[in-house]
Amino acid sequence: MLMNIQPSQAGTVESNDILIILNPAETGSGIKIDLTSPVLKKYGSQIKIVIQEVLNGQGIVDAHVSANDRGALDCTIRARMMTAIDRAKLGEEVQG
């Protein structure tokens, strides 16, 4: 990974939302995404692309993401990922 992160969580399992659990991973291990979703077959790859994009955009190349999707739109996935990443960044005030 390019930056030091700690385990974090964002989102809920309410309808239209997605629960993201973000964990650090060994350097060089890449991004691993475990996704559960009622629309896994149809939109699973798209959801993973969005998750990957946000991580890359924030300079995170090694991480384990556990995502429990409840029908979230892309904008919601991006928002929950950003919150999880903010919370995961060490040494920053992220809850304000």
Binding site: E14, N16, L73, R78, A79, R80, T83, Q95, G96
Partner: protein
């Protein structure tokens, strides 16, 4: 004429509500980062509102209620939200003109930074304390960005050390002063929410009362309340027809360069014309006036 009959609060940390907020027909939707969001979720709500506004085209005016700038959250709210250009920033618990002026400076800097037209992001303030009521005009007139002041209900009642009554006498003085301040400043006055969504009878009575007092609209907390408010603000057919006759007579007199206008023997002056324009604006918004008078 911009109408703000209904301003609907939408909790900022609820994706389903944020996504669907535009479909209910409210004149304004207010994405809330303040009271409806738990302190531990302020960061999450900011990201959600930012991303929703960035990707969804809402068919109505979009406001964001930020946390007060005296809290640890207010500045961060502005920093996150201003780049997606909300139509309105709503400040809660406004007590002085300085509150407004400080946010105005931040908005001005954001408009320059992001290349938005100068003055395109408007402001409104909720007045929720006795001190705020006393300073209502100064708050209303503190910036050219100000388009409305609203009365915030529960906090105001706590400050006043009273509680809700059926006929709203606890709000009587504050509502009166708010209307006067808004009118003097030339901006909208918006009434407080009515939280008991199941009590339609008292909601209707309160909305009729505040319309008669001169309020331009009401804050609502549930989509079910929107049509009720719009119905109450809808002019009758007789009022619309009279307004159309007034406007026609006024236009005719302008064409004739006549100083005096009369309709059915009654003199029509500017206040009468303005009232007619207001009635037609409400009728047009409600779709009642099919002829769509050119205002």
């Amino acid at each position: 004429m911009k109408l703000r009959r209904t301003m609907m609060f939408v909790p900022g940390n609820n994706p389903g509500m944020l996504i669907n907020a535009g479909i209910y027909g409210a004149d304004t939707i207010i994405f809330d980062l303040e009271d409806s969001v738990a302190i531990s979720e302020k960061d999450a709500a900011r990201h959600l509102v930012y991303n929703a506004m960035k990707s969804i085209k809402y068919p109505c005016e979009v406001a964001v209620r930020i946390n007060h700038i005296s809290t640890p959250f207010g500045y961060k709210d502005l920093e996150t939200i201003l780049p997606v250009k909300p139509d309105l920033i709503r400040l809660p618990k406004a007590e002085t003109a300085a509150d407004i002026e400080e946010i105005d400076v931040i908005i001005t800097a954001a408009e320059i930074k992001h290349g938005f037209a100068s003055g395109s992001i408007k402001m409104m303030a909720a007045i929720e304390t006795a001190r705020g009521v006393r300073n209502a005009y100064e708050i209303a007139a503190a910036s050219p960005r100000m388009v409305a002041i609203a009365i915030g209900g529960e906090d105001f009642l706590a400050d006043l050390q009273t509680s809700r009554t059926k006929d709203g006498k606890e709000f009587h003085s504050a509502r009166g002063q708010l209307i006067l301040a808004a009118r003097e400043a030339g901006i909208h006055a918006i009434d407080t929410v009515f939280g008991d969504v199941s009590n339609e009878e008292d909601f209707i009575a309160e909305t009729i009362r505040i319309k008669e007092m001169g309020f331009d609209g009401k804050s609502v907390v549930n989509p079910r309340q929107i049509n009720i408010v719009h119905q109450i603000y809808m002019p009758t057919t007789k009022e619309v027809e009279h307004a159309e006759r007034v406007i026609a007579a006024y236009k005719e007199s302008l064409d004739r360069k006549s100083g005096v206008v009369s309709l059915n023997g009654k003199m029509i002056d500017v206040p009468v014309v303005k009232r007619a324009e207001r009635a037609l604006a409400y009728a047009n918004a409600a779709g009642r006036n099919n002829r769509r008078a050119n205002l």
